[in-house]
Point group: C2
Chain length 202, copies 2
DNA sequence: TGATTTTTGGTATAATTTATTCGAAAAAAT
DNA sequence: ATTTTTTCGAATAAATTATACCAAAAATCA
């Protein structure tokens, strides 16, 4: 393969990225099963068979989309963590950012149902990510204590607790009732509860 | 057919209604093509073949859903028309109500593409309804003039103009970019423009 | 109760859709 | 001009799906 000399990215990679971006939109709208390669091919204005030049199969494309999505989420959350905000605010931002990005992933998950391999794949990612999540929450907690806002003894334990609470918030998204749930309200509710347990009383 | 004596509605009709309601949700989420009878059957917790006891075909069911949707929209709009509000407010409410209900219809339309017969069917309804719309707008205008808020010479012409403007607002919905457009803002923009042309200056 | 009507859903099938392959040709780069 | 990259039409095999039929369950009635 020969690539253009000045730009580090070649055309193929650019095309891949474009396909990925559009595929993520369509997948997240219809879910895995209901999305056809024709849908994607039409949207990127290429022949269906051209997709196989970039990805070896529908599943391969799907996994690439998910992987990219996870990367984006990770970077987004890092940003929140590094922001210089009040600890509670930071916790709230973290959860909201996560849920909002998760909303995209949710629809993938939703229309998977039978497709065992795909579910397994996603579950693997989720588990892997779970560890990272706990670490991140921990950082927020530690910072909160240092700033004299939180009073936490066992960081790991509390971090796991909060992670669990977030999972609870994710549930309705996975289940697919979008319109019904108000994310912010849900988060604030959970936050209020969490804070009463965590906050240092004066 | 023998029906229960006291209630006017029999069970079959109730089931039909239920199927209609659920089918509308699924159709409006995935569009006509991507919705399978299995989807609907599962959602109503019946066997797929049972649906044929209530509707003669997928298309039949689809048309019933649309027809019902149109009925609901019509009734909703009648209510707005009869409300005792400021004319501009009423116009705004009318348009917003229409667009919001239309959001549901939009997705049907969106995933129709090839299916010529279905498109024709919907277009027929749209045309038929268009006349009614003009009549309704006219009523709002007439009332507005009587209340000394509007200054309109040719009601029909202005009504057609407004109807056209509303179509413009519907477009992005038909095109399928939901998240992008803010209905209220769009409506208020159009309204502001419309009012400057219609309002009686003091 | 037993008879009849309503409602359900399993199974079968024919038509359609869809993911994937292959190879050749257009486009771009060298 | 030759090589490399990229595209896509056509073919296919597997899966999905709308629809038809029929028998049995459930509800209603007499």
């Amino acid at each position: 393969m020969v690539m253009s000399s000045d730009t580090g990215v070649n055309k193929k990679d650019a095309n891949r990225e474009n396909i990925l971006k559009i595929a993520q939109e369509i997948f997240s709208k219809y879910g895995y099963k209901k999305t056809t390669l024709d849908d994607i091919a039409n949207a990127v204005r290429k022949g269906k068979s051209s997709l196989y030049y970039y990805f070896s199969s529908k599943e391969d494309l799907f996994q690439a989309v998910i992987l990219k999505e996870v990367e984006i989420l990770k970077r987004e959350l890092e940003k929140v963590i590094l922001r210089n905000t009040d600890p509670v605010e930071k916790l709230r931002d973290y959860i909201l950012t996560k849920l909002n990005t998760y909303r995209g992933l949710a629809n993938f998950y939703h229309a998977l149902e039978n497709d065992v391999t795909a579910i397994e794949f996603i579950d693997n990612i989720k588990n892997k990510y779970n560890q990272e999540e706990i670490r991140m929450i921990k950082r927020i907690l530690i910072e909160g204590v240092r700033k004299n806002a939180f009073d936490v003894k066992d960081f790991t334990l509390v971090a796991i607790g909060i992670t669990t609470a977030i999972k609870g918030l994710e549930m309705p998204l996975s289940a697919g009732d979008y319109g019904t749930v108000n994310l912010e309200t849900g988060v604030d509710n959970i936050l209020k509860i969490l804070c009463y347990g965590i906050m240092k009383r004066n």
